[in-house]
Amino acid sequence: MSFKTEEMVLNMGPQHPSTHGVLRLELVLDGELIEDVIPHIGYLHRCFEKHSEAMTYPQIIPYTDRMDYLASMYNEFGYVVAMERFMNIQVPERVEYIRVIMGEFQRIASHLVALGTYGADIGAFTPFLFCFRDRERILHLFEITCGARLLYNYMWIGGLSHDIHPDFVRLAKEFIKDFRPNLKELNELLTFNQIFIDRTANVGILPAETAINYGITGPNLRASGVKWDLRKDDPYSIYDKFDFDIPIGKGEKGTTGDCWDRYYMRVLEMEESLKIIEQALDQIPEGDVSSAIPKRVKPPVGQIYARVENPRGELGYFIISDGSLNPLRVKVRAPSFVNLEVFGELCKGHFVADVVAILGSIDIVLGEIDR
């Protein structure tokens, strides 16, 4: 007698704590083995691009905050870089320094969420609390600067909405002093924890060739051993003035490009960000942060594609102007949108329990995927 067997289709999400938002994964299973994963996105679609067409250029900035809500500063950074290049605005040095400091603080805050929730996803709950404790101090720095903790509307075309608080430099330096030992503690607690390594090493391996063909960027690409960081390779703002390294994955605990590598990249990047912030805090010049803000933002007819290295990868803004006060088209190349695409490929042949480990290691934000 023979049995008829068939694949089982299991829906994971849209409401699921470890999909990091409203994402539905359609798992095609052969027992516990994964044959295919089909991500279904769009549950958080808020028509950012359609809204933008009805806004003036400065009015779009608050909307960019709401895409990648864990890295709002950097979304604004990308947009203002694009607009300033488009309109050929020279920004005062002080503004550039403050932007870099804020951007790198945002990178640390975003990576802390990524690492903390990654631990929580696969069963280590304590590091989550440690990460959020440190992130809270960064959010406090943002709050004393511009009054908001998450959605800032801080970087404007040609300048900033506020200068930094008189206490900012002191508090930032105190944070850096305290954060280095905390990072060491996090490493002991989670990074080099044998249980954690067993769950993540040699899981979801992404070879460099595949990563490039799939357009993967950011820490995920670097974990695969490709030294590619827009801060070095296509410099914007004043990143060429600072001395920092680009860490790449070496497969220390398993194979190059596995989940552990992707996780560890973020730990290393936080250290590099600290270096950049330290240098910037020491060199920050005096000046007026609002002197270059144009009265009327009216770019010439034409288009521009400008990109920055967001905590999650390459964030690109493609803006077309028809010479009026509203853009003809604003398209966002969201890093998470592109990074998620390879997910099905990574999961094939793994167990159901690994889906969560792989998804967490890609570090997606659904607000940015769906826009």
Binding site: I212, G215, W228, G302, R307, R329, V342
Partner: protein, 176 residues
């Protein structure tokens, strides 16, 4: 490392009629216009040619050029007739560090563009998004379905300039 102009000359030599004009008077970036049905061959060449090696597609974006004629339909809504929809391709070579922008323009009434999904896998979702938002049909795409909008969305393509907000979705009144 090559400038967009050199790349244009190389393409012109190789593909002749499939390559249109070279727009360089625009601020910020120059654009090479390509025929919509030949774009896949051009892209494959750009990726595989040794001295170009465009191994990464940074961005693929649909655009409504809004250059058609404005007419009223039977419900007195303003719609666009004629004109073009465009797709922009931003390519980059990670090894050689040069960039180029390609553009194809296609008919608004029957927008058809060859898919580059086989060249760069990341084009898959980008093309689905362009289809979802503009209704541009990518020929030979293996799974051209909506991506951000609901799969059963029937009210048209939202990012077109003449898109009308639907009054009902599946019989339910949509509040505005």
């Amino acid at each position: 490392m090559k400038t967009p102009e050199e790349i244009y000359n190389l393409l012109k030599e190789k593909f002749n009629d499939a390559i249109g004009e070279f727009i360089s008077d625009k601020p910020a970036e120059s654009v090479i216009v390509v025929s919509p049905l030949e774009i896949d061959k051009v892209c494959l060449f750009l990726r595989d040619e040794k001295e170009l090696e465009f191994n990464s597609l940074m961005n693929l974006s649909g655009v409504d050029d809004a250059n058609g004629e404005k007419v009223k339909d039977e419900n007195e809504n303003e719609i666009l007739k004629g004109g073009t929809l465009s797709v922009y391709y931003h390519l980059e070579s990670i090894n050689l560090k040069h960039k180029v922008t390609l553009k194809v323009s296609t008919d608004r009434e029957n927008p058809e563009v060859a898919s580059v999904e086989e060249v760069w896998r990341c084009a898959d979702w980008h093309e689905r998004e362009a289809y979802d938002m503009y209704g541009i049909k990518f020929l030979n795409h293996h799974n051209l379905i909506r991506i951000l909008m609901p799969y059963d969305w029937e009210a048209g393509y939202p990012l077109r300039k003449d898109y009308q907000n639907p009054e009902f979705y599946k019989g339910m009144k949509v509040p505005y």
